[in-house]
Structure formats: structure tokens, C-alpha cells
Subunit: 478 residues, 2 copies
Amino acid sequence: MKSFAAATAQLRRRLGANVVLTDDTARTAASYDSAKLPFRPEAVVRVTQEAQIGAVLALANRHGVPVTTRGRGTTLTGAATPVQGGWVLDTLALNTIAIDDEAGMAHVQAGAKVADIQRAAEAKGWFYPPDPSSKEYCTIGGNIACNAGGMHGGKYGVTRDFVIALRGYLPTGEAVTWGTATKKFSAGFNLRDLWIGSEGMLGVVTGAVLKLIPQPAARWTLLTSFKDETAALRAALALFKLRVQPAICEFLDRESVLCAERATGRAVFAGQAGRPVLLLEFAGGKAEVRETKQIVLGWAAEHATGSRAAKNREEAEQLWAVRRKCSGAMFELGDAKLNEDIVVPMRNYVKFAQFLAKLKRDSGLAIPTFGHLADGNLHVNIMYHKAVPAECRTAERTVRTLMETVVALGGAISGEHGIGLAKTPFLRIQHSPAQVRAMQAVKRALDPNGVLNPGKMFEPFEVWKHPRLEVKLPWDHK
Amino acid sequence: MKSFAAATAQLRRRLGANVVLTDDTARTAASYDSAKLPFRPEAVVRVTQEAQIGAVLALANRHGVPVTTRGRGTTLTGAATPVQGGWVLDTLALNTIAIDDEAGMAHVQAGAKVADIQRAAEAKGWFYPPDPSSKEYCTIGGNIACNAGGMHGGKYGVTRDFVIALRGYLPTGEAVTWGTATKKFSAGFNLRDLWIGSEGMLGVVTGAVLKLIPQPAARWTLLTSFKDETAALRAALALFKLRVQPAICEFLDRESVLCAERATGRAVFAGQAGRPVLLLEFAGGKAEVRETKQIVLGWAAEHATGSRAAKNREEAEQLWAVRRKCSGAMFELGDAKLNEDIVVPMRNYVKFAQFLAKLKRDSGLAIPTFGHLADGNLHVNIMYHKAVPAECRTAERTVRTLMETVVALGGAISGEHGIGLAKTPFLRIQHSPAQVRAMQAVKRALDPNGVLNPGKMFEPFEVWKHPRLEVKLPWDHK
């Protein structure tokens, strides 16, 4: 890895030793994210003012120093890993949140925590729907970088759908603003949305204006079980046909349900251990939810083998236990996980379920799968034992088959995690050579010196060949 | 203007004389759009298959032929005007529409008419909200090119918010697809959204997958009047504070109302001639709309000087007359119009109303203004007489003052029309030199030979110095 001692010293003189950290603790902490693939940076730049970022990038361009922007580092893809060393730009101190109550907008800095934004909005009767499961830790900057989704995607949309304007820095260090704090903007090329999902490779986001929607006055939660995966998926399709839009529609396959049941020590539905479930939440005005409830209860009576509705928030939380507990318990099925977040179009749900059943049989691996059925975004967890070479090879082969099948079914290799390092081997399954060339041309145009997050997206990185750090992060599933 | 006779002959041999038209009628018809600024193309390429576009672009790149993509040509900015000659790529024959009933998506080709898409969706219980006033003529390709909006923007969003995937051709002629027919996609740079609003300069859209939402079961329309503009704007803000989201919230200032009243021959509210109005429409489930109605009637009693609710669709249509009639009648105030579509953030509505009143006084021009208050997108119509040089100069000065003020108030120079030719003099009021440089770098990266829609966006074109064609188009306001 190249060394940039002189540039680092210069930056330290310029911004101060409190901002430019070169001590061991800081560098180690910034050497990995939730992918747990450590690469040591030369310095960690903990900016306290947005303008410092312009100075960092100007110097980085002069000396060719790789700069990796970092929020909390909850990304599972390694997108915040400083894989080529250089500087990690830590944005956590930029964390202001202001709600524009009148316009229904949140003005936030990149380091603001997503759950804090939600709470600030809720306090004024507004709702910010995107909710990655790490929302109590992850930053809005990181959410923008990977276009994070969450459970509300089907009805409300993902991060992209709530970003009204962005400000930040071009890779070459100039301050820019994309869009205004208005719901319409059609003036010039849309670099705002080009930045969203660009994983810190085309600019550094320092602030955003987010759209809020009125907080739903009522919510209603229903847990339902089905005789098998195909029945559950068909039932979901039947529900959507009724034109009721669940705010949340979480699917857990048999293996995921069994994980949750092991974790809680009891069957989700007594006497029906291991039945796949749909966890549904409806939100809206009181009258609207009341209307929907009747329709949905009729649907459940027709399709489900078991159903249980929550009478209040406390009971809803009990129903949610099955979803919250499943991930952690998966490590009983293997000590290593390839955690994918593929997307399948609705018309191919049943075909995908059949493929997944075959994949489990053929590979002999446990592949518990759950996810967001209203938008087809499924978390496929390929579990294996890292000390067993045959299992490693099978896992590697299995993830490739998964990606090829998903794309053949008209789906996406990632719905909300992004590419980072972990999905680089599959980018060219999704995108044609012309598409990749166009993306790379855009990258070169905006980042001629290639300083922002180099080594990501386009350069295949075989994550399964790299040892992972044995470390427990605060947001790891219990 | 450069001539490309050899290239045109070659293209004609390649695609046939039925596709590559060089006759006078075709070239004249394609020489202008709704901006009515004629520039004669060398040929009109009426493609009948998407793949022909690849051939057109390959040849255009080899010979440096400007290519201007065209839908119906309803754009008011001149974005579809072949200002540098060359070839006009007419996409009207690519007009298929297929509704995916299960997923709630529309698969359409670029030349499909927006109102046809809405009707096809509605027939299956789905709703496609973006509704530019030219929807009975304009194509979805054109809507994507300028990120068209319409009256539903505040609650539902604009074209961008409903585009799930795009397919088409890079400026260099390669076929590409951005996104999949799924509601989540986070795999690679987002060139889909970079294309949206890029006014045919970064690629040619041939097809799109659009998101649909459930058709609202109920609608309710209310027309209200206020003592003056400031009172109307304050009332709108008070309404939004109640967290009811009107599907439509149209504002008409005094001058616009007077235009409508002249056109219909009677006062909107008897005895209240020239009172500014808000035209409100609420949409949703039956129970939801019923709930909202009570809240809104209470609001109207408190804030409005007059109010009239529709009991059915027919009465609603009568209320809508005021909005539909105002534009045409404006030409009694001048025979030339600078039709702007600026956006103002909600917090500055009242300031903007005060500025507009002063602008009218200072300029001595009639500037009837109406538009979409739920998103701040206002149509400011600067009327003047083109034979009066002093009025022309005043109009030119006035539009610049308007743009500078809008940006100073935190707004946008265009909300839904785009830049095209007409707003090129103002692009640099909205965007800093670094922002413009970044956009131009992206343009060069994707279109190295500069063939797609050259002369737009970045090169100032003073529309008021060019004579406009005296021609009546089918979508011109009566």
C-alpha cells in the first residue's frame, strides 16, 4: 500500500491534530466496517466543519491520496473500507437535524443518525419512512451513499425517494449543491440522484434536505403463517391484488422461522413449528386502517394457516420478535454468512421460491431467507463453516448461481446494500460492458485523479478469500 | 448550419425512405416545438423499432451529426428544437403500453402518450399521478426528458418519482438498461436518474417501467376564494399545517382569476370578481376523504371569503373551469408571453407574493401567476406586446429579476419545464461554475462527440431576440 506521509503531515498542520488522527486506535477503528475486512488507513480525518472537506480533497488530489468517506460503518458490503489505505474521512461530527415543520422537510447533516431523524420528524407529526435495520446506528450520509431501503420500501419508497436536495463536495474539492429545498426541480443535469447510491465514489455528501410525509395516525400489525413458501408467496400476491398496500410485508422462510423459534424457545404458532410467515403492518388514517383491516382479515381467513393480530403496540412488538430474532440465530447454521440482498420481480416470486428450494438441496447449505415482499427485496443468507474448505467453495459457487438466476429472472443483485467490495464479482452479471463503461466514464469525468473510494464497485474483490475480523459490532444481531 | 448530405444519404439507404424523411413537410414540422423557434433539420428519422436508434447514433457519431430526440414537441423551452440542424429522431411510433397488474407497474415505450398510460392504468385500478397540462398530447419520453410534473406533484411527486427503470441508447449508440422492474435497485451508479431531466442530452430513452399506485377510491373538490394573494398563501400554509395533503392545490392570483372570468363571462364567486382562489382536490380511500372533508370545511370557514364544494364529478369539472380557462385568456394582456415555471420554498411564499406585486408595479406589465402550491411550483406569465420595443426590454429585464429573486429565496428557476433554450440565460443563476463544470464533464464523458441535442442547456440563447412562428398547435390553450 502506498504511503502518503508528507501529504498527511501537511493535512495535519492545516486542520490540526484533533481533526487529523494518526494514532493506532483511530486508524484501527477506521480500518474496517461491518464487512470486517481490515485495511489500514494512514490517517482518520474527523471533520468538525463541512468546509474542512474541501481542504482534504484539494490536498488528496494534489498528492493522489485515496479518500474513503465513512459514517458509522454499518455497511455490510465493505463500501467504507479503506481498501487502498490513504485517509478515512469521518463525518460523524456533522450531525445536525432541523425539521421544517411547515414544508414537511428535514434539513440534516450527513452524520445524523437515521433513527434520530425519524424521532425528530415524529415529534412534529411527520414521518421519514426509510428504515434500514441498523437505523439506531447508521447515518443518513451512509444511507444516501448506498440508497438504503428497509421494510417500508414497497409502499413508501427508499432513501432516494426522500432526498430533495444534497450539498457536499465534488471529488476535486469544490463545494456544490444539487437541488433546492423544494419538491420540484428541473434545472440542469440531475447530479443529486447520480450521487445517491454512488457509494462515496462521485462526491462527499455533507448535508441533505429530506422529504417527510404526515405521520400515519394508525397502525395495525398481523402475523400470518402458511403451509409452505410457495403458499406464502402466492398469498402475498393475492393480497396485493386487493390493492391494499401494506406499509410493511415481511416474509420469513421455514429456515428463518426455525432460527427465530430456536432463539425464542417457542413456536411462532403453537403446533406449527417452522411454518413460513408473513408479518404485515398497515398504516394510515384511522378510518383507512379500519377499512383495510376488514379486507385483510378476510384475506387471512382464506389463505393463512394461522394468524394473530396485535391489539396494541405492545402486542405488535411481540409479533415483531420473530423478525428481529431470526438473523442472530442463523449463526447456529454456520459460522460464516454470505449476506445477499437480491431483488426479484413480483411475477417471478414463485419461480424464485422453487429455485431457492433447489439451491438449498443442491448445495447442502442452510440458506435462510427473509425480506421485504412488497418490493421483492429478499435477504438470502448463505451459511457455511469457514474451516471447511468444501463448504467455502460451495458457498462461493452458490452465491454466483444465485446472482445469475436473480438477473435471469429480471431482478437485481442488490436492492439496498450496494456493491462495495462484496458484490464487485457480480456487477457484470447485472450490467453490460457498455453500462459499466458509461459508469466508469462518469467516474473519470468527476474524479479525474481517482481519489474517492478507489478499488470499489468495478474491481472484482473476492470477499470469501479474505479473512474477516473476529469482532462484535454494536449493531450485530444478538 | 453544417450540412451532412452524405451521412443523411447513407442513413436513408440503411433504414429506408419510409423512416428517414427528407421532404419539406416533414422537415418543417420537425423544425420547431411548442417554443415556436424554427430551425430546419436535414432529415426526420421516424423510427419504427428501437434498434434503429443504435444505427442512427452510430452514424451520427461517425459524421458528427447533431441528433435531437423528439416526442410530441409540447415542450415550452425549445428542448426539442434542432437548433444546430442535423437529424430529428421522432419516437412517436414507439408507443406500446402494458400494465403489470400484479406488480402495479406500467411497461411503456417512449412515444406512449401520458394520458393513454393513465387510462390504461386506471382500467386496472391503478393510478399514474404525473399530469402535465399537455397530457393528452405529450409523450412519456418527453416527460422523462424534462422530469415533467403537473398538479399532483406536492402529494405524489413528479415523473422522476415514478420511473423504476429505463432502457435506451447511450449517445455513442450502445443499447443500455438502467434498473430492473423492481422497486429496489442499488447496483452500480444511478444513470437512470441522471437520464431523467437531462433533456435528451445524455441518452435516448426508448422504454420505461413506471411505478403505479392504487387508484384513489374517492375524490373531493373544493374551490375557495381569498381577499388577496397574501391571504390565499397564508391560508394554504395553514391547511398544510393540519397535515391533510391535498392531491391538488392550485393557486390563481387576481390577474389569473380575472383572465378566467373574462373567458367564462362571469365571476368565479358572485360579487367577488378578481379574488385569488385556491382550487383543492383531495383523494384517497372513501373513509379517508370523508375524514379530511370535515377538517377542510372547518379550515375554509376560518380562512376563505368564499367556498364551493363539488357534489359529484360534473360539479367538480365546473369548478375546474376557472383553472382551465385562465391561460388562454392571458393573451388579451399582451401578444407575447414569457412563460416561467419557477419554484419557491414554502417558507418564502409570502415574501414571493410581495416581490411579485412589486414586480408588477415596477414593470408595468401584466404578470398573471398561478400554479401548484403544494410544491411551490408557480407559473409566472410575463405578458408583453412584441411590437413595442420598450415592453420587450422590460420583459427581458423582468424575467431576469424574477430568476435572481427566486434563487435568492432558495427556489428553482424551473420546476417541471427544464432548461432547453428558453432558460439557458439563467442556468448560471441557479448553478455555480463548479456545478456547471461537473455537468459539462458528465456530458463530455457520455457524449464525447457532442451529437445529442447540442446547443442546449449550457449555451445562452436569448429567446426574446428570436422571432416566434405564428402557428397554432393542438395543445395551445384556447
